[in-house]
């Protein structure tokens, strides 16, 4: 029993070390330019509207992608749930991008979604678009749609895998029971399938949100210059030519880790509520 928590603490210790060092560096106790404890840097960086805009933009983009991917995952799982044949093929195709690195996804997204990318070229060839400017801006755009789509594409396989597994392992039996108890198809979906899916998916959804919010490569290649995605802002400050400003990055590291901590806490809390408690 005790060993379990100790082992977990050991695994988490690098993050703890990162938090401790970042906190020290953000308060002038360590880092490039330690000058003794002071909260000046903390309050200055956290007082910048740009930082909050970055955070908000990152959260918004990651949330959108996560929601979109969740909806699609449920759709895929519901539409293609039979054992073999076309359904199996569809499920395999949905899971195929699972191990594709973010870097590859982002590289492809640029080639595909840019205003002069393949989609735009197809539109031009079809006569729908007169030039790159007619293509809606998806890449480097404040709306961040290109990044949202890329992250959605990256997250869908994992969520689809969880959703199809849920339906395959528990769905059929529960649905049959419900039908046997007199529920119609709609009631079965409303009262059995849907609650099963969303409750089962929720922890994965929170986890996927954390991945999306922290992704560096995709943001670096697809995000706009303003607001700057949080990981990009962090790295930009970390390599600022002004040595005195580099410590700012550690405040942002703390913000990023805090966001992660919140997501992870929520993730386990949801799992705890849905698996350990009755009802």
């Amino acid at each position: 029993m005790r060993w379990g928590l100790l082992a977990a603490a050991l695994v988490a210790s690098p993050v703890a070390a990162g938090v401790v060092y970042s906190a020290a560096a953000a308060t002038g106790l360590a880092g490039f330019d330690p000058r003794g404890f002071s909260t000046d840097r903390l309050s200055r960086v956290l007082g910048e509207p740009a930082v909050w805009e970055s955070l908000a933009w990152t959260v918004r983009t990651a949330s959108l992608a996560t929601l979109l991917a969740s909806a699609l995952a449920v759709l895929v799982a519901m539409t293609f749930r039979r054992g073999r044949g076309v359904d199996r093929l569809a499920r395999t195709l949905a899971v195929l991008p699972l191990p594709v690195p973010h870097l590859v996804a982002a590289t492809t997204a640029v080639l595909l979604l840019a205003q002069s990318g393949l989609l735009s070229r197809l539109g031009f060839a079809a006569g729908w678009l007169a030039g790159p400017a007619d293509m809606p801006p998806l890449v480097y755009d404040r709306g961040g749609l290109g990044l949202v789509l890329t992250l959605t594409w990256k997250e869908l396989p994992f969520l689809a895998l969880v959703a199809t597994t849920l339906l395959a392992t528990r769905g059929a039996a529960l649905e049959e029971t419900a039908r046997g108890l007199g529920a119609g198809p709609w009631d079965t979906f409303r009262l059995v399938t849907w609650p099963l899916l969303w409750r089962g998916l929720l922890p994965s959804i929170v986890a996927v949100f954390a991945f999306a919010a922290g992704s560096y490569e995709a943001a670096a290649m697809l995000a706009p210059s303003d607001p700057l995605a949080l990981p990009l802002l962090t790295l930009e400050r970390y390599t600022d030519p002004d040595l005195a400003r580099r410590g700012d990055a550690f405040v942002l590291v703390l913000v990023g880790l805090m966001l992660t901590g919140a997501a992870v806490g929520l993730h386990e809390w949801v799992r705890y509520r849905t698996t350990e408690l009755p009802g």
């Binding site: 880092g31 490039f32 740009a50 640029v110 840019a114 205003q115 002069s116 030039g131 790159p132 400017a133 801006p137 480097y140 755009d141 404040r142 670096a220 290649m221 706009p224 210059s225 303003d226 607001p227 970390y238 390599t239 600022d240 030519p241 002004d242 040595l243 580099r246």
Partner: protein, 396 residues
């Protein structure tokens, strides 16, 4: 800390203090059998090919040095050395490719070894009379870096799409206003250099900016830059609400006709990019009449370099007429030499003069006519930071 030193240290390497006194020959023979790790920008296949397939085998054959070129540029180098110093860790690079503000920051933080560049045998042929080569962003290298090559900033346009390109910043402004959405600059080094030239043009010429950083001059002239940018902003690409992260992304926009201009710190880049099929064959370089910044790039040795002796030997080879000539070929790299060509012995002067010129490249005369020196690095740093907070943020 001592553990880190022990694990990284190569005990056979002479310590820096001894190096300063050791005769060159014994220094070179001492470096035999060692490895030199060279941190540099690795993004261009032409430059990589020169380093990996031309320089490396020769360095190995002649000096018995194993050259290991690794990725890392400007801010990354500073950051890496800074953290290494803070952590008290042994160094991981022997030679770094730097200039301008990177050199400034490294010197400020005392992260460079030196002075050493005067000890290189080939240093005697360096064109020290040229202000572009003898100064680095108005800084005196003071022996802490050795010049390696020269480049000059140029705009790049497609002669098929834009037969009559603007020839000055004033004309460029008119052109941007007349062609909405067709111009932008990147957020990184080239883009900031573009803004710096704009600052010279609006601030009364580069001469006023020489002689160190002046806050007042910077404020008034940079304000003109922001006004200029705000004025053209609605006509910039994406209405000035977003900017490509780096020059590569700008190149991609240019090549596919999303914008009509791109830019480069290296006037010869258009030649290699056309050869690589990245630019259309009709792409050309363009110098604005207000003058474009020419600068030299250098090689430094980190203060914590495990193998400074080897690094010096490599830097010396890179300075040799042979290596400089190969690098200057436009089919190889097209990087300008830092040697005083007319002072070179024997056939070398002739060989440099005979370098085949690519028709797309700019003539040496016009390059020289429009070349402007770099000024104090603070200008670059301030422009970059203020552009981010004033223009990049709060667009659209």
């Amino acid at each position: 800390m001592s553990l880190a030193k022990a694990s990284c240290g190569r005990s056979s390497t002479p310590q820096p203090r001894d190096l300063a006194r050791a005769p060159w020959d014994s220094l070179a023979s001492g470096a035999r059998g060692t490895t030199v790790t060279w941190r540099m920008w690795r993004g261009d296949p032409s430059i990589n090919a020169y380093v990996d397939r031309w320089v490396s085998p020769r360095v190995l054959q002649r000096y018995g040095i194993n050259l290991n070129a690794v990725e890392g540029q400007g801010p990354e180098i500073v950051n890496q050395l800074q953290v290494e110093k803070e952590a008290g860790a042994g160094g991981t690079a022997d030679l770094v490719w730097i200039n301008g503000e990177t050199f400034h920051q490294l010197r400020q933080a005392d992260l460079l070894y030196g002075p050493w560049s005067g000890r290189l045998p080939h240093a005697a042929w360096v064109d020290s009379a040229s202000p572009i080569i003898s100064r680095d962003f108005e800084q005196d290298p003071a022996g802490y870096e050795s010049p390696w090559g020269t480049v000059q900033f140029a705009l790049i346009y497609d002669s098929a799409r834009t037969p009559a390109p603007p020839r000055s910043y004033a004309e460029l402004r008119e052109w941007i206003l007349a062609h909405p959405g067709r111009f932008t600059h990147d957020q990184a080094f080239a883009g900031i250099t573009f803004l710096k030239q704009l600052m010279y043009a609006l601030g009364g010429g580069v001469e006023r900016f020489q002689g160190g950083f002046h806050e007042e001059l910077y404020r008034t002239s940079s304000n003109r830059v922001w006004r200029w940018l705000e004025e053209v902003r609605p006509s910039l690409w994406r209405r000035g609400g977003s900017y490509p992260p780096g020059v590569a992304e700008l190149h991609r926009l240019f090549a596919n006709g999303e914008v009509d201009f791109t830019m480069s710190n290296n006037q010869n880049e258009v030649v290699t990019k056309v050869a690589q099929g990245i630019f259309p064959a009709t792409a050309r370089a363009l110098l604005l009449g207000d003058g474009t910044i020419a600068n030299a790039h250098f090689l430094g040795i980190p203060a914590n370099a495990p193998n400074p002796a080897g690094a010096m030997v490599v830097a010396d080879f890179l300075l040799s007429p042979e290596a400089q000539l190969e690098k200057a070929r436009s089919t190889v790299w097209g990087d300008g030499t830092v040697l005083a060509v007319d002072r070179l012995p024997g056939p070398w002067a002739r060989r440099f003069a005979e370098l085949a010129r690519d028709p797309r490249a700019l003539s040496r005369d016009s390059l020289a006519r429009y070349a402007r020196p770099e000024v104090a690095p603070e200008y670059h740093e301030r422009l970059a930071r203020d552009w981010r907070s004033r223009i990049r943020r709060g667009g659209s």
